[in-house]
Symmetry: C2
């Protein structure tokens, strides 16, 4: 039995804590905020629960489904009727049929271009081992270029390129120029493939938790020693153990620490002794994406009457991607609009009224005039949050996987790491966070001694 202090009560930290506690370890979880969940947070709009952060459980997210079940929660399917996605690229507007909904029907030339691009991407992605992207025989080549460079070279129609770029923003909340090709491939294969990532039915946006995903975090926390308002400032460590000090001066001594924070924030803690160069510089190189979620509630999900399922992929911002997140009974209609990447950075600088106006303008463009007058509107800018500073997660610029990837997962002495960014499978999703937390707990129990202090 050991004592473990866990920094961060997001899904990764809570999962690690539960796993360790079940195995008989003594666990304390320190959380900076006044709530648990991290990038999973509940809110209320027009009297109905909404997810301000992580929302969906997808096909294959087996740990999350099991957890939901174990915690006495249930899921319901994401609204996807009539199974058509509205694709709006420039002035071209198309309704896209299809069970998976990932490939839009544009003009035949653009469609052929897009189809060959997706096929080439997925073929290349299958050659990447998500446990060690840096080990790919052509890793240097794949990591030496941006995803944007690959898009320009591989796609030949404006429509095909635009669709890849919108998909990139939707998946990474970053622009295709921000990512290395190797990272885009890693992320796709970690989550099966590009189509699955983008899809609702049988895809990553398949189901939601009745009452809100935050309950998963809250119910996990219920059986744990979680201390809120405990922002950590200092992590002291040596061969005997760790001592973690909050900003308020409370010290928790333990045998091991798990830092379950996004990499940038992990890098901003003070360590004594300081982290080795390669690990510190890794945290300098894993910036978070820029994304705000905007929500508008209406008396009814009126877009369904027009044969629209509420899903959009557009290329004119600020809102380029939307989902219908109305409650399961459809008592009210709620649209979720994502504002991402460069659009988000321009939008952040507007005042509140301008932000709202620009979002509703987009919704009107997609769904008609009734979108102009919501019952209620709310927004959540994750990059403005002190204890997150960007969502959904970190992205790897060119050179980072090959130059620093090997330093990502190993502990430093008795300090371990967990979070959606560390997951081999379902990286970036709630599922990845849970799996990473458990994997870290397991590795910690199996012997920190396998990882000599560095």
């Amino acid at each position: 039995m050991v004592k473990v202090v866990i920094v961060g009560a997001g899904l990764a930290g809570l999962s690690a804590a539960r796993e360790l506690q079940r195995a008989g370890d003594e666990v304390v979880v320190l959380e900076a905020r006044d709530r648990v969940g991290g990038r999973v947070e509940g809110g209320v709009l027009a009297g109905h629960p909404i997810e301000l952060g992580g929302t969906w459980i997808g096909e294959g997210h087996s740990e999350m489904y099991a957890l939901v079940d174990e915690l006495g929660l249930t899921t319901f399917p994401t609204h996807n009727e009539p199974g058509r996605l509205l694709v709006q690229l420039g002035r071209t507007r198309a309704l896209v049929e299809g069970t998976k909904g990932a490939v839009p029907r544009l003009n035949p030339v653009a469609l052929a271009d897009l189809a060959q691009g997706m096929a080439r991407f997925d073929r290349l992605a299958r050659s990447v081992d998500p446990a060690q992207p840096w080990a790919h025989p052509k890793a240097k080549l794949l990591d030496g270029q941006t995803f944007e460079t690959w898009i320009r070279r591989t796609l030949h129609t404006p429509g095909g390129r635009a669709y890849f770029r919108v998909a990139t923003e939707a998946l990474f909340s970053a622009d295709a120029a921000d990512l290395s090709l190797l990272h885009a491939l890693f992320y796709a294969v970690s989550n099966v493939d590009l189509e699955t990532l983008l899809a609702v039915d049988r895809g990553a946006q398949k189901d939601r938790v009745r009452g809100g995903s935050v309950q998963v975090a809250e119910r996990m926390a219920a059986g744990l020693d979680v201390r809120l308002h405990a922002a950590v400032g200092l992590v002291e460590h040596d061969h005997r153990g760790v001592a973690v000090t909050t900003r308020g001066g409370d010290v928790t001594a333990a045998d091991r620490a798990v830092i379950a924070l996004p990499p940038t924030l992990a890098g901003r803690l003070r360590y004594d002794p300081v982290l080795p160069a390669w690990r510190d510089q890794l945290t300098q190189k894993l910036p978070a994406g820029t994304v705000a979620k905007t929500f508008a509630a209406y008396p009814t999900p009126f877009w369904r009457e027009d044969g629209l399922n509420g899903q959009v992929a557009g290329d004119v911002g600020p809102v380029k991607v939307t989902f219908d997140i109305s409650p399961p009974g459809g008592e009210v209609g709620i649209l979720l609009g994502f504002v991402e990447g460069g659009d988000a950075r321009r939008w952040q600088r507007l005042d509140e009224a301008e932000r709202r106006r620009s979002v509703l303008e987009c919704l009107v463009g997609y769904f008609g005039d009734r979108a102009a007058t919501p019952l209620a509107y709310v927004e959540k800018d994750w990059s403005a949050e002190e204890f997150t500073r960007g969502c959904y997660g970190a992205h790897f610029a060119p050179g980072v996987w090959t130059g620093f990837g090997e330093a990502l997962r190993p502990p430093v002495g008795h300090i371990h790491w967990a979070g959606a960014e560390y997951a081999v499978e379902w990286n970036g999703y709630m599922e990845g966070a849970v799996r990473s937390g458990r994997a870290t707990a397991l590795a910690l129990r199996e012997g920190g001694s396998a990882h000599p202090p560095m």
Copy 2:
């Protein structure tokens, strides 16, 4: 008259402090270390002063020359006889003549390739405005690709590509995959051109300060209120002013703050209220390079007898770039070997004896057996330093200049920024640090009100 607290006693912070104090402001400089200079630091090897950090003053570095003069110091020329650079790419070894020494004479095909590559690069660089690289008409295109992608597309011979990659490592202590093409162009034009950056005579490595460059910092600090051992933890700010608190709990209230730290470290301070999203995310995206300096002293600069000037550009690490930094009288011979980028990250993980052995092996390869047995050897890994965490400076990955560049220089409310990374001219050099410090002081005096609190 206002009161200004400056965080960081490197050349930028000290220059800002002097400028403000001269204008009648009250200035306090807080420095985390027990010394001033930041990335400029003095050392001693075999009884002679060496520069563990910033070393050279280059052609056009007018502020540094003036400062040296004003502070009662003198310079001496970097040893450059017989003006030949040893270029070793794979098994090809060539002695390169020429006043500037930047273009190696390889085989005629490689030379022609390299010449056209350098010409194309410089032509493109001249089209970039270093004050606002994001404003280039093709900024998105130039910033959407890595410098590595450009090298692969533009250079066609292994020798030509290798030379560009070695030059990149030497200039950025990062690999060509880590940088956007736009950043490489910006950096070149900020420092005149690529040839100037690489050159000794009439180039960026032209002169040194007799007795060591650190004296510039020390003499500037002599007339200022500099408080050592004052690592800052918290910066509180509002429309009235700032309050800066050290880790030890000392509070300095002032009208304005200048954070004169590398961007990553500026991002790791705690701000209350937190910085706006765009500024915080910028600091997540400006990682420092990886570089260690290694020094070996010999009874004489024996390589000069062999017709070598001590300068190497090779493509087999860990040491790929060397300089002769013997004292001006040549009383002893001292070689400086840079270990950079990916080489540095592999080398850092070796133990002390292995690191030394691998460095000396490189020097033997370049300069013969006499290099194997130095009188004294010392090394300085800047990425291991808590209060630097990487050198020479920050580099911009693809997408950063266009996505975040406009947030680089403007103050946030009453918090201003300074450092070599912020310089328009001579970015990355001691000259850039001094100019940035002065420019920030000037902007601060001319009215923070021009920049409303964000």
